[in-house]
Symmetry: D2
Subunit: 102 residues, 4 copies
């Protein structure tokens, strides 16, 4: 199995892998459209509370899916190579902070 | 303390209270704008994974806030009056289903 | 359909319904046993991180199940009758606080 | 800064780092004691629903804390060295699976 590459797109900066970036962007665009439709649903005064809660939950699920794509890209390209670069502790600290209360 | 009213906007239908509807709509509009900015962030190839994860988490927090507004409205106007109407079990079943894995 | 009763076991106090109490107690006992087995797993120095994470997740699922039993009992017996008693706002405030970040 | 070591305690197996193992064990022991006290609380028929929900949430928080200790140890010792060992994809797959719905 070929190991994923670890691109550094700038001297001081780790960039999101191209594929993960495009897939996350696509998923977030869909979530945005879904969210737009909930806002419209709330323009009408006959919206039902539980329907709104269900729709919000669906958007949360879509956001979790997008976050998983980004997290996978980050783990595979940046965290998996951290020992070689020598920035393990910094990377793990910031990642755990970003995942908290997820 | 005055008890909240329990509006029924249609014969067969419980409607989200006006105030909760407007506040939830406002919060969701802001979340949509935030989500739009993450999509734009992902148009650039130098986005950083952990920044994207943090932004997604912030939108999730905003969605939770909007859901809390709707949930409060639902509990105060519909669930709190369920025993009087006689639909307690139905309302609680559908609410628990909507909250699951929240 | 018969509406659930709303027992008040003391003048100033709403009590958890008997059935919910026993079922929640049973589920929490099982979760405690599961947690005990994870502690034992961690006594051995060849435990694997991801196995531990999976087991902790399973216990979290069991706790969610127990919380759902208690929440259902609370909604059916106490929240659904709040408008009649006149304590809707207090009950909903404390419930939302207890559910936050669930 | 010294990079964390990457111990392999058996030929075919990655072990939880000693320090993370002991700290996670300690936290889980405390959570077990807390859970035990909730079970006892439910032996009495005057337990109040929202108190039980709050206590369960506190145990969930303690379990999240223990999971964070294990996750940090796993990321620092196993995931950060995955590219060198050549098992990045396998490790990331199983980790994402274990984190899902966390």
């Amino acid at each position: 199995m070929t190991e994923p590459a670890a691109p550094h797109c700038a001297a001081d900066h780790l960039c999101i892998p191209e594929d993960a970036r495009k897939r996350a962007r696509h998923r977030l665009s869909i979530a945005r459209g879904h969210l737009e439709s909930i806002v419209k649903m709330l323009d009408k005064d006959d919206a039902y509370c539980v329907d709104v809660l269900r729709q919000i939950k669906a958007v949360q699920g879509a956001l979790n899916g997008a976050a998983d794509v980004v997290l996978r890209g980050h783990l595979e390209t940046h965290v998996a190579t951290a020992h070689e670069r020598g920035d393990t502790v910094e990377l793990v600290d910031e990642l755990l902070e970003a995942l908290r209360y997820r």
